[in-house]
């Protein structure tokens, strides 16, 4: 009987070792360890043994069983990982094939810039305000200290519906509405469409977009204006940008300034974009004119503020080095999908 067990063990182990796949291995398990298997048959024959031999052979049979079980399990693991490896080999693909197209829409570049600008000011506590595009002459001119006889009133190339009704030439009327309607203090930016009778070409458009800003509070200074706009320029153009405030004139601010930043293309060395000056004008600003405050019902002896306005097209053209404004209004998907 012992010999029989030894023989089963050695032949089984050899067979397991040689098993070529999981099916063969399973057949071997059944052949040796199954209910009708060889080892089981041997164990059944134990009842014929003597009482002394029985535990000895029993122990031996158990050892053989364990050995076979271990061998089967090990072989199974080996064969399984072989099978996986085989499968992986067969599944090699051409990873240079193009990816499957996902739907991908793009923001208009002007909205992309607008989002950026708005986020900067939202972070500084400004609310976003909308305004109307068809305005009365009062809000477009008079309330901004541009009376009927003001020479600058003609410089604006205004589109008229009637003597009293115009397409707004700037987003500045939103300043007045906001001052009239809202509680103080005010911190707001107002983006929107504006209209001027310029023929469309690479650098002009009769329709374009501005972003207006307004702050009204107590103890606001020109230094604060410089602080806010310098911060904006750094966030928008990067930390290295230099900012210059130059005196200028706007009827609705006093003092007024234009703001230049060091050229984003050449860093200030001088190039085509900055026409060799190293500086690029990006916005106009100033302390809100006391007359404008007064007309909007705010006491200029108690409150001051500043206002600013910038061109969205200009910022976007600078940001992406776009040289033709008309591209923004053609909506060619080859252009739009670049943003």
């Amino acid at each position: 009987m012992r010999e029989k067990l030894e023989q089963i063990k050695s032949s089984a182990l050899e067979a397991i070792n040689n098993a070529s796949d999981l099916k063969v291995l399973e057949d071997l398990r059944v052949q040796y360890l199954g209910k009708k298997g060889e080892l089981t048959a041997v164990l059944r024959g134990m009842k014929d043994l003597t009482a002394e031999e029985r535990p000895v052979v029993g122990q031996m049979a158990n050892e053989v069983r364990e050995a076979l079980e271990v061998a089967l399990a090990d072989k199974k693991v080996g064969l399984e990982s072989e099978a996986v490896n085989q499968k992986l080999k067969e599944e090699v693909i051409d990873i240079t094939m193009p990816g499957r197209k996902m739907p991908k829409g793009h923001m208009h570049p002007l909205h992309k810039t607008l989002e950026e600008v708005q986020n900067i000011f939202l972070g500084m506590g400004y609310e976003i305000v909308d305004g109307r595009e068809v305005e009365t002459a009062y809000y477009n001119f008079d309330a901004l200290n541009l009376g009927e006889e003001h020479p600058a009133r003609d410089e604006q190339d205004t589109f008229y519906f009637t003597n009293n009704l115009v397409l707004r030439t700037a987003t500045s009327p939103v300043q007045v509405h906001t001052m009239e309607e809202q509680e103080l203090p005010i911190r707001m930016v107002a983006p929107g469409r504006v209209y001027r009778s310029d023929e469309s070409d690479a650098t002009h458009s009769p329709i374009f977009h501005q972003i207006e800003g307004l702050v009204i509070d107590k103890n606001i200074t020109f230094g604060d204006l410089k602080g806010v706009l310098a911060e904006f320029a750094k966030k928008f153009f990067g930390d290295k940008v230099q900012v210059k405030f130059r005196p200028h004139y706007f009827p609705f601010t006093e003092p007024s300034a234009e703001v230049d930043v060091s050229c984003v293309m050449c860093g200030g060395k001088g190039c085509n974009v900055c026409k060799g000056s190293g500086w690029i004008e990006i916005l106009g600003c100033g302390m809100v004119h006391p007359k404008v405050l007064e007309m909007a019902g705010i006491d200029p002896t108690k409150y001051q503020g500043f206002a600013f306005g910038m061109g969205l097209e200009r910022l976007t053209m600078l940001k992406y080095d776009i040289n033709d404004l008309r591209l923004f209004y053609e909506n060619d998907v080859k252009f739009l999908s670049q943003f």
Binding site: K104, F159, T162, S197, Y249, F328
Partner: protein, 796 residues
């Protein structure tokens, strides 16, 4: 405003280089736009004297000349010029020289004989012969005044001068003059401003006896001064005057015109010369024109005037349109012997209106519209006649006629050191501030804390204006950058802005690109869109001064904009285009001045894999993203620009939110597109009103669902929408969802019918459903489909 540096330096001592100068001027408020150097490209042209002349051995028309250019040895030049001879001093361009227009001169051989340069005409130096008295029409220029041999000829011709161009803002009419800029330069560089010394030599007589001035409208003409010049000799101006004008970019005409132009530049004061003998009654009357009165301008155009316009008239008729243009009849000609020289102040706004109405703009009107200082006249008229003296253009008759009924007085305003410092965020001392004001010729009274502003600065009327003056002389760049310390506010977008952001995000997610189109368009778009004549869409807001008809009306639909964009894409052979715009249309309101500005969400698309259901899918996704309930779709066959069988209205809460579908093929053709175009135009306000603001989550199911597929045979014209209605109604609470998964026509399907298949999902939230329950539900559904729809159930 263009100012030659040399002219400016007459009145203020600028001792810095041009770059330092323009930076400082820009930072003190006179923004420099450009610096141009006259004749910058011209190099290596010197004065040379012809010392020997020989015939060219091989060419009859050429001569060989030896020229002394102040060097050790003379150079040799071969020339075809006929007007020069031995002894003449001429401009010589040397080897390597560049002439006007970029022409380069090199040593070379002419018919075998070496020529080391070229003699120059004034044209080759960038002028016209008529700019100089002594330049021949066609030939080499010959110097008639001594010039050092070998010296650069550019200074002689006024070349090499830096002309600085300033951007003058409308609050500073005083700076539209060289004296104004000089004053600013003096203040900027803390230098004295040297006003030109004015001395006039007069001859006997009395202007007041010779002519009379009456101002009938003092509001429009606050001041009118005149001088009389007799024994006038109209002719060319002397070289110094011509040089001055040319350096500022003006062509000389004759002495009288040149003096007027000189005054325009230097004092910024328009002048006008009348032929005294042609003024009826020698009486100048400044009055409003009569309606219908006519005058011929000195350019020979007859203009019809109206009573809003101010004219200069004699006792018979208008002789000039005040501040705009003189008349033909009284203009100065070569025969003129006596001149009445006008130096007047007119209301800028009136000049602007008149100039606009008549469509005439002149150098004078351009100055007047800025609003000039009447007190400028006192010295200007003296300067003008001094120039008459200096040019020998005539004799100045004693006396000035000066009618000045409405005097402009200096304004005195208070200053408050603390207020100004607080406003600017500076710590300027009173002493410094006083010094700034005085540099600007403001008189400071430190006891009463006031400043008196000169009348040429009408822009300074209040403390904020003083703050600006302080800021720009202190230096904008020196004002310290501070952080605002006001009451904190919270940055936010409003609901509409947030939802619009969400719409943009949905569009991006599904492959639709952001577009922007014009808000004004042509009235012809309505025909292009096949919109009937009586449509309300044609009730538009019209621009009275548009950039042409194509941009003359405010849009009442966004359709044209999106179709144009699709057309551009299609005709540039872009295979697919999907666009959206959130933009306004403008709706007139009866009895109201301001129109309604209505925001629309517009979508346009075409492409290989784009059809009605692509667009519908996008709209469904949008509605779902915004959590809008009560949405349905209704067929719309009424829109003339849409395909009648492929258009629907999006209904939200029972209201029409807009339409979507396929564009009518005729309209697509009108936009040069031979493909199916799909558009949607939705009302943003209705979307906003129905966005579900507060939502709570639906707990995840605890019990399993059971699904059943059904397929049925229905007639072709049955709408799946109707089938779904029956299924959902009959399915009741237990039916979680029903999803259309197949619509089939063709083989095995009875003619005129289609097979429609649904997957139904049943579930209860509190138990596992029994077969019985589902069977009951299914039976109700199938029953309904058979009786209501007439569906025949197909075997699974």
């Amino acid at each position: 405003m263009n100012v030659p540096m040399s002219w400016l330096k007459q009145y203020v001592d600028i001792d810095v280089d041009v770059n330092t100068y323009i930076d400082a001027m820009t930072m003190s408020g006179s923004k420099v736009e450009a610096v141009e150097e006259l004749g910058k490209e011209i190099t290596k042209v010197v004065a040379g004297k012809i010392i020997e002349t020989e015939k060219h051995p091989d060419a009859d028309k050429l001569r060989v000349m030896k020229v002394d250019i102040g060097a050790e040895a003379p150079i040799q030049i071969v020339t075809a010029a006929t007007n020069v001879n031995t002894g003449d001093v001429v401009p010589v361009s040397l080897d390597g020289a560049t002439l006007a227009g970029g022409l380069k001169i090199k040593t070379g051989k002419l018919r075998g004989v070496e020529s080391q340069g070229m003699f120059c005409s004034v044209e080759e130096l960038g002028f016209e012969a008529s700019d100089f008295d002594d330049a021949p029409e066609d030939g080499v220029y010959i110097f008639h005044t001594p010039i050092e041999l070998g010296s650069d000829v550019k200074p002689y011709f006024g070349l090499g001068e830096s002309i600085v161009e300033y951007e003058i803002t409308s609050n500073r009419p005083d700076c539209f003059s060289i004296l104004g800029i000089a004053r600013e330069a003096a203040a900027t560089f803390k230098k004295p401003f040297n006003f030109p010394e004015i001395k006039v030599e007069e001859v006997d007589g009395n202007a007041a006896d010779m002519a009379k001035v009456t101002i009938e409208n003092e509001q429009l003409c606050p001041r009118y001064a005149a001088r009389v010049i007799k024994n006038v000799k109209v002719g060319p101006s002397p070289k110094w005057l011509k040089d001055r004008l040319m350096s500022a970019g003006l062509r000389p005409v004759n002495n009288i015109v040149d003096i007027t132009n000189y005054m325009l530049l230097e004092f910024g004061q328009p002048m006008h010369a009348f032929d005294y003998d042609k003024l009826a009654g020698h009486h100048v009357i400044v009055r409003n024109a009569k309606d219908g009165e006519t005058m011929t301008t000195l350019f020979g155009d007859e203009v019809t005037l109206d009573s809003s316009m101010l004219v200069i008239a004699d006792e018979a008729k208008p002789v000039a349109i005040a501040g705009v243009m003189g008349g033909e009849d009284t203009k100065v000609t070569e025969d003129t012997t006596t001149i009445l020289f006008e130096c007047a102040n007119f209301n800028g706004y009136n000049v602007r209106q008149t100039s606009k109405k008549l469509g005439i703009s002149s150098d004078s009107s351009k100055k007047y519209v800025k609003g000039l200082d009447p007190n400028n006249i006192t010295l200007a008229i003296e300067r003008a006649v001094q120039l008459i003296n200096m040019t020998g253009a005539g004799e100045v008759v004693s006396g000035i006629i000066d009618v000045y009924p409405v005097k402009r007085e200096k304004l005195t305003i208070p200053y408050d050191l603390t207020w100004i410092n607080n406003y600017l965020g500076t710590q300027v001392t009173e002493e410094e501030m006083k010094e700034y004001f005085e540099r600007l010729e403001f008189e400071v009274d430190t006891t009463n804390k006031t400043v008196t502003i000169p009348t040429f600065r009408p822009d300074v009327t209040m403390m904020a204006d003083l703050a600006e003056e302080v800021a720009r002389l202190y230096g904008y760049d020196k004002i310290e950058v501070t952080l605002e310390r006001g009451t904190p506010t919270v940055g936010h977008k409003n609901f509409e802005q947030e939802i619009t952001d969400q719409i943009r995000s949905t569009m991006s997610r599904y492959g639709v690109n952001g577009a922007l189109t014009y808000s004004f368009e042509s009235p012809k778009v309505f025909d292009k869109l096949c919109i009937p004549a009586d449509s309300n869409l044609r009730n538009v807001l019209t621009i009275t001064n548009p950039l042409g008809e194509d941009f003359s009306i405010m849009r009442t639909t966004t359709l044209n904009g999106i179709l144009n964009s699709l057309s551009i894409n299609y005709n540039r052979r872009n295979e697919t285009a999907m666009l959206y715009e959130v933009g306004k249309v403008f709706e007139k309101i009866e009895g109201e001045e301001l129109p309604n500005e209505i925001k629309k969400v517009t979508v346009g698309m075409y492409g290989k894999e784009v059809d009605f259901y692509t667009l519908k899918g996008l709209i469904e996704a949008l509605v779902e993203d915004l959590h809008i309930q009560k949405v349905s779709v209704e067929r719309n066959t009424e829109l003339p620009f849409m395909h009648p069988g492929r258009t629907a209205n999006l209904m939200i809460a029972g209201k029409v939110c807009g339409y979507f579908g396929e564009i009518h093929p005729q309209v697509a053709k009108n936009y040069s597109v031979d493909a199916k175009l799909y558009v949607a135009e939705l009302d943003l306000a209705l979307i906003l009103a129905n966005v579900e603001k507060a939502r709570s989550y639906v707990p995840l199911p605890k019990y399993p669902a059971t699904t059943r597929d059904i397929a049925m045979l229905v007639k072709d014209d049955v709408l799946v929408g109707d089938i779904e209605k029956v299924i959902t109604q009959r399915g009741g609470k237990l039916l979680e969802s029903c999803e259309l998964f197949d619509v089939y026509q063709g083989k095995q399907i009875e003619e005129g019918h289609k097979s429609v298949a649904y997957k139904l999902v049943f579930r209860a939230s509190d138990r596992t459903l029994t077969d019985d329950e589902i069977q009951k539900s299914m039976k109700k559904i199938l029953n309904g489909l058979e009786t209501v729809i007439g569906a025949k159930l197909r075997e699974q």
